[in-house]
């Protein structure tokens, strides 16, 4: 009897072992050729699936030769312009045998079309393609910023993909509800549960509304929905969150959508563990954090992910090197193959603590879902700014706790003294840098393709795409035709931008408060008062987020903190050009411009900002914040940047203190 309890049996009743989850590494950089080599090396090392990172222009629907794309080509992922880039990217990789995850949202339909076109060109059976296009547009509006079109049109594109995939590539997950970035943006477990499930319901409701499926086919659609979840450092709570997810999805699929087939109700999810808690200080500690976070989603059989990707220990510093990714992959392999983790039935079944915690999470998440439902669902809660404001609030609370030492982060606000990490002693500083010249190769492939493709065919397929968009036809078919005609990513997106328009969501910062009262706050406010007395006006800051990098948490927190300190703050959200940011600062006669950049394009953007200030003959101090490696500091200072803040500068009031000092230094002697 006892033995029976700790032996895992398969469906036929034989003792068995769980198969391991899919091991992935979120990877891609520089250009298609380099990324292809990286993929093949990773697969040779025992990785079992691909997870493609695309660069920001590809994610936002710009070809590499667009002016806005230039500083970003190949920085945070691989640039993809045309089918030719996919031919290079998947060279010698049997895509029909792969399980490919693409972290792509605004342009997901386009990238899937390229994948389909490549498979057809290779003569493969397209129906065998397996993988996922992330395609969760809601979290893009909330946290990550690579949206293009307004919500209604984005949802239509997603539904088009469900319709297409169900009939042509039934093993493909057309979308993947991604709550990962919600946690990165500060979401509590309850918010992560509620917002993700509300998003799932929004998609299913839209699919239902299209009314193009029989109930049996609709059930298959439900079965295709997968989730991409974040696992944070509070790993027991995170494990309970995964169990709550499964239970709630079961309730939703049975209760609301009447899914009879058990197979289609399964809560299928992949995980990327949290990067939010990784520190730039004592970065070697991140290795332990990553392991613990991985345990939350692997330890118990009933809450074990289907695919896992782990960040690297040095992600808070900059891009990880191939060696760092290899180290991350090895952790998964040790966990799955050396330990006895996969040999047991669920370890937590019957645990009173776990059961009660799960119940709690479900109750609270259901309350939140009810609120969203009463607003009219997830799309409405995006449009009215509710979800965004909730996340900004949670993030502000989290940061206030770190600042107040209520939340301990080892090496950051506690046990700060340590021996410098030998891991960063390498001549490369322990980080990976993309060669700025490598963009030339991408641009050359693009211009070659443009020169040799059939211009008439390009025009015809784009015209069809435009017509289909206007007439409400499924856009997948025209998109695949475009892919085959060597249309570019920018051309595809521009055609749809013309019809659908572009979208600017709520910034979520208005009306926010920071729960932080300390001597430091008082000190900064005293300086602000002094400034006000001396000049007759409050200090005014323009917080800017230039370029395509949509990770706006830092900018939002600086905006909220500056207001808390007594500044007048102008923050207009993401994806502004340096010209727009400078124009705001000039018209408002701001005392300082604060720029937030995480994509590694700080030098190029600094140059553009200072060129624009020169145009207006405006002498406004500029400070930078973001993931900026130390070796770049000197360059930025030489361009004119007055101060640079990195994740190490987590204390919001220390940041504000330095900013008010910079602003005060400019008080003219005459007043």
């Amino acid at each position: 009897m006892e033995k029976k309890d700790h032996i895992l049996y398969d469906k036929t009743g034989n003792p068995s072992k769980e198969p391991a989850w899919i091991f992935r590494t979120y990877a891609g950089h520089t250009n298609a050729k380099e990324s292809n080599e990286l993929f093949r090396k990773n697969l040779a090392k025992g990785q079992t699936g691909l997870s493609i990172a695309f660069d920001l222009p590809t994610q936002c629907g710009y070809s590499s030769d667009h002016a806005i794309a230039r500083p970003e080509i190949g920085k945070v992922g691989v640039p993809i312009n045309t089918l030719e880039d996919f031919r290079i990217l998947f060279d010698q990789i049997p895509i029909e045998e792969m399980n490919t995850s693409m972290t792509i949202n605004g342009t997901s339909m386009w990238l899937l079309s390229l994948y389909v076109a490549l498979a057809e060109e290779r003569g493969e059976d397209v129906s065998k393609l397996q993988g996922t296009t992330q395609n969760d547009i809601i979290k893009e509006y909330l946290a990550r910023g690579t949206y293009i079109f307004p919500p209604e049109h984005s949802i239509r594109i997603i539904v088009d993909m469900y319709e297409y995939c169900l009939k042509r590539i039934p093993k493909w997950n057309p979308s993947n509800i991604c709550s990962y970035h919600l946690q990165e943006a500060g979401a509590t477990p309850v918010q992560e549960l509620a917002f993700a499930l509300a998003t799932g319901m929004a998609i299913l409701d839209a699919v239902k509304e299209r009314n193009c499926f029989t109930h049996e086919e609709f059930e298959q659609c439900v079965g295709r929905i997968s989730f991409f979840v974040n696992a944070g450092i509070r790993f027991i709570e995170e494990m309970c969150k995964m169990r709550a997810f499964s239970d709630m999805w079961e309730e939703i699929t049975v209760g609301i959508y009447q899914v009879k087939n058990e197979k289609y109700r399964r809560f299928r999810y992949g995980v990327q563990v949290n990067s939010l808690g990784l520190t730039e200080e004592q970065p070697e500690n991140n290795a332990w954090r990553i392991l613990i976070e991985a345990l939350g989603v692997t330890l118990s059989r009933d809450a074990r992910c289907r695919a896992l990707q782990l960040p690297a220990w040095n992600e808070a510093l900059s891009l990880p090197r191939p060696w760092d990714q290899q180290w991350s992959l090895r952790l998964q392999q040790v966990l799955a193959y050396e330990t006895d983790l996969l040999e047991y039935p669920d370890l937590f079944e019957g645990s009173r603590v776990v059961e009660s915690k799960v119940k709690d999470l479900i109750e609270n998440a259901n309350k939140e879902i009810q609120k969203i439902k009463e607003m009219g669902g997830a799309i409405k809660a995006i449009e009215n700014g509710y979800m965004k404001a909730q996340l900004v609030k949670s993030q502000a609370e989290r940061l206030a706790k770190i600042n107040n030492d209520e939340l301990i982060i080892v090496g950051k606000n506690k046990w700060k003294d340590g021996i410098p990490s030998p891991l960063t002693n390498d001549p490369d500083g322990g980080i990976f840098k993309v060669d700025p010249k490598s963009a030339e190769q991408t641009l050359k492939v693009l211009s070659d393709v443009k020169a040799r493709r059939d211009a008439k065919k390009v025009a015809e397929t784009l015209a069809r795409l435009e017509d289909d968009a206007k007439n409400g036809k499924n856009l997948m078919f025209a998109s695949v035709e475009c892919a085959k005609a060597l249309v570019t990513t920018g051309e595809w997106a521009d055609t749809l931008r013309k019809i659908f328009g572009e979208y600017r969501p709520s910034t979520g910062v208005e009306g926010q408060k920071l729960n932080l009262e300390s001597d430091k706050v008082a000190n900064v406010r005293t300086k602000v008062e002094k400034f006000q007395k001396a000049t007759g006006a409050r200090p005014k800051i323009v917080v800017g987020k230039p370029g395509l990098d949509g990770h706006s948490n830092g900018a939002e927190m600086i905006a909220v903190s500056a207001k808390h300190a007594g500044f007048d703050v102008i923050y207009s959200g993401i994806r502004l050009t340096p010209e727009e940011i400078v124009q705001s600062a000039v018209e408002e006669n701001a005392n300082v411009i604060g720029v937030s950049i995480l994509s590694g394009s700080h030098v190029e953007l600094a140059e553009q900002i200072f060129a624009e200030l020169k145009h207006y003959k405006a002498d406004i101090p500029v400070v930078f914040g973001g993931i900026i490696p130390q070796p770049d500091f000197e360059k930025l200072h030489s361009i004119g940047v007055k101060a640079i803040f990195t994740p190490k500068d987590y204390d919001l009031m220390d940041v504000m203190d330095r900013i008010i000092d910079i602003v005060s230094a400019k008080i003219p002697a005459s007043v």
Binding site: Q512, T535, G536, A562, K563, A565, E579, E588
Partner: protein, 317 residues
């Protein structure tokens, strides 16, 4: 506080601002927004007059409405149409944001909803925190508007307002709009506490859907007819149905604005603003003295302000 700019510098700033240079204009506005700008105002407005800028032909348009009525996005759409269809005129927008809290700091979010072209000299946008002032206006808004009138043909002033107190903007606007969203009878009951009588025209924004728009139009016009005691055969103020999404009604609204003239009440504006200032500074006591004081009705704001101040201080002792 002394005047920060030397005479020559001030002349240059005015000259450059008149040519659409943004930074010089922004600097002038910042000086006006300071609490003790009296000396500066005297010099500035004298200098402007000497340089031939009096703002007499400029039209000020007030845009008031509840948060979420879509005022900023609507102004964004109007700006786009303006830049495309009115090549010979210039416009400015002053957006007053009510957000403010214990630290006194503010988050000015109106720029978010307007996407304006860069380096375009025919349009200028400026945010102002309301600094908790009742009436939705910042204490210095009036002076900023006086300055902008010298250089721009149209000045839009956007304020949040839900009640009678918040419609203050109409006192300095030549044309004031109340911006609303399609609504039903109950909401009108709620809003009619005096506020419906103030605006010169109404905008029903977010009319993305025809039927709802038409129904709201009829509800509003019926209410207005009986609220405003309109004699049979008289006409109710214009109601515009607009939608940023479908671009409905934008050009009509702009055409209406372009046809408007500076209000004849402009001459009384100084008096109203002086009274407002005296009331804030000295309460009813000040107002009483002001009513007994005689001053040149054609005098500038600063002249009246100075003589009123002398009278009040005399009596105060």
């Amino acid at each position: 506080m002394t005047v920060r700019f030397a005479e020559k510098e001030l002349k240059e700033l005015i000259q450059e601002a008149s040519q659409g240079e943004k930074y010089p204009l922004a600097k002038l506005i910042s000086e006006l927004e300071k609490p003790d700008s009296f000396e500066f105002r005297k010099v500035l407005f004298k200098q402007l007059e000497n340089s031939g800028f009096n703002g007499d032909k400029s039209v000020t348009i007030g845009f008031t409405g509840t948060p979420g009525a879509g005022k900023s996005s609507l102004l964004g759409e109007i700006s786009t149409n303006f830049l495309q269809t009115v090549p010979d005129k210039k416009m400015a927008v002053v957006a007053i944001d009510p957000s403010s809290h214990i630290s006194g700091g503010s988050l000015l979010g109106d720029r978010t909803r307007l996407s304006l072209p860069v380096r375009e000299k025919r349009i200028f946008f400026r945010s102002q925190p309301s600094q908790l002032e009742l009436g939705g206006l910042n204490p210095y808004t009036y002076h900023v508007i006086r300055l902008l009138r010298c250089f721009f043909d149209l000045i839009f002033v956007e304020t949040v307002g839900i009640g009678q107190n918040e419609i203050e903007v109409s006192k300095l606007a030549d044309l004031s709009f109340l911006v609303m969203v399609p609504l039903g009878g109950d909401q009108i009951q709620f809003m009619k506490s005096g506020i419906m009588e103030v605006p010169d025209a109404f905008i029903l924004n977010k009319c993305d859907e025809e039927n709802l728009a038409r129904a709201s139009y009829h509800t509003l016009s019926t209410t207005l007819e009986f609220l405003r005691d309109i004699v049979p055969g008289g006409s109710i103020p214009p109601i515009f149905l607009t939608s940023v999404k479908t671009k409905k009604g934008i050009q009509e609204l702009l055409d209406f604005v372009l046809k408007s003239k500076p209000h004849t009440k402009r001459s009384g504006e100084t008096k109203v603003q002086i009274e407002k200032w005296i009331k804030t500074e000295y309460g009813n006591f000040g107002l009483n003295i002001l009513s007994q004081t005689h001053f040149d009705p054609k005098g500038s704001f600063e002249e009246v302000e100075a003589s009123a101040k002398i009278e009040i201080e005399k009596n105060y002792k």
